[in-house]
């Protein structure tokens, strides 16, 4: 009798602990995506992000596990690591002296959308060039 009861409780214990493990698995972080050389070629990373071994879902959070379905992460996504636009503007403070700080320009201040100039999976496109095509080269390096 006693043995049967012990077995019964043990059974219960194992089933519940198994269930809690399953539950824990479904709750933890975004899906891991296997980054193949082909995937890397299709969606190349900028050198400074590549160096940190970031994975797709570090930026594309909560967007599933198929890179083809991923959407732009917007300013909020970028700033979740890069703090604030003011912070980024302050880091180029020396350029304020000549009003050439791209993060704090005389036209827009520290208010532009990040992807106005910066792209991750294709070459960036410095918006200043649209008007200051000759000068920008001497003001700053190619947009990372």
């Amino acid at each position: 009798m006693c043995n049967k009861r012990t077995l019964f409780f043990l059974g219960f214990f194992f089933i519940f602990s198994g269930m809690s493990l399953l539950g824990a698995d479904t709750n933890t972080s975004s899906p891991k995506i296997n980054i193949t050389p082909e995937l890397k070629k299709e969606f190349p990373l900028k050198a400074h992000h590549d160096k940190l071994s970031l994975s797709c879902t570090d930026c594309h959070e909560g967007q599933g596990d198929d890179p083809k379905d991923f959407k732009l992460i917007g300013d909020k996504g970028c700033l979740s690591c890069h703090k604030t636009k003011q912070f980024l503007a302050d880091r180029l403070k020396f350029m304020d002296t000549t009003h050439t700080n791209p993060h704090n320009s005389i036209h827009d201040g520290p208010k532009l959308y990040c992807d106005e100039c910066h792209n991750e999976h294709k070459p960036s496109d410095n918006m200043c060039l649209q008007c200051h095509s000759n000068d920008v080269k001497s003001w700053m390096r190619p947009t990372p």
Binding site: L52, D58, C81, T97
Partner: protein, 210 residues
């Protein structure tokens, strides 16, 4: 002669012990004072070419520019702390090297801006989490921040290992890139246009170092 000394020691064990302790204490004190007095910005700046770095450090929380004024010394972040012998050896080697470059080399030719890419090798991670003990769990850090700290831990010991300074680019030296530019602009366009800023930085630094 040696026998005689042994005999004296044998006959005066207590005295020998006391003298031994005293000599030991004096040596420790000299070592402590020596290490302590040669560890802050005032001392390091004598030989190291680092006026812009120190100026940037003074505008950072780590350099005393926080609410509480707490300040960490140069060596706290830049020397190894896992082993006292490695600490002293690195300190001595750096001292000799930097002194030699300062007096006999050509420090003006050093490209500090480019050197910033190696920042993770100049900063000791164990020093960071020696103070920031709860960087993995601290809820004052954003969710993303904690996720990234987890990422950092997961890369530890692999060939992709990164350092604290890999992401925290100007940590300890707030505005370092601008300071370096005031002294030696990275683009020709700014040459001669940032002299006023440099002058202001120099003035403040000289005052701070008094």
């Amino acid at each position: 002669m040696i026998k005689k000394i042994f005999l004296i020691i044998k006959n005066n064990i207590l005295l020998t012990l006391l003298v031994g302790i005293l000599v030991g204490l004096i040596c420790s004190w000299v070592m402590y004072e020596g290490l302590h007095r040669t560890s802050n910005d005032r001392f390091c700046i004598v030989c190291h070419e680092m006026r812009p770095m120190v100026a940037a450090y003074h505008t950072d929380v780590h350099g005393g520019n926080g609410k509480t004024g707490i300040k960490v010394d140069c060596v706290t972040c830049h020397l190894p702390h896992d082993n006292i012998f490695a600490y002293i050896a690195t300190k001595a080697r750096n001292g000799v090297m930097e002194g030699a470059i300062h007096f006999f080399g050509n420090p003006d030719a050093i490209d500090w801006q480019a050197n910033r890419a190696n920042r993770q090798h100049f900063v000791r991670d164990e020093a960071c989490y020696g103070c920031h003990t709860n960087y993995k769990t601290n809820e004052a850090i954003s969710v993303k921040g904690r996720e990234m700290h987890e990422h950092y831990v997961s890369l530890k010991g692999t060939d992709k290992e990164i350092g604290c300074a890999s992401c925290h680019v100007e940590i300890g030296h707030n505005g370092l890139r601008s300071m370096l530019n005031y002294y030696n602009p990275e683009y020709k366009f700014y040459k001669g246009k940032l002299d006023k800023q440099k002058e202001a930085v120099e003035k403040k630094l000289t005052e701070d170092m008094k």
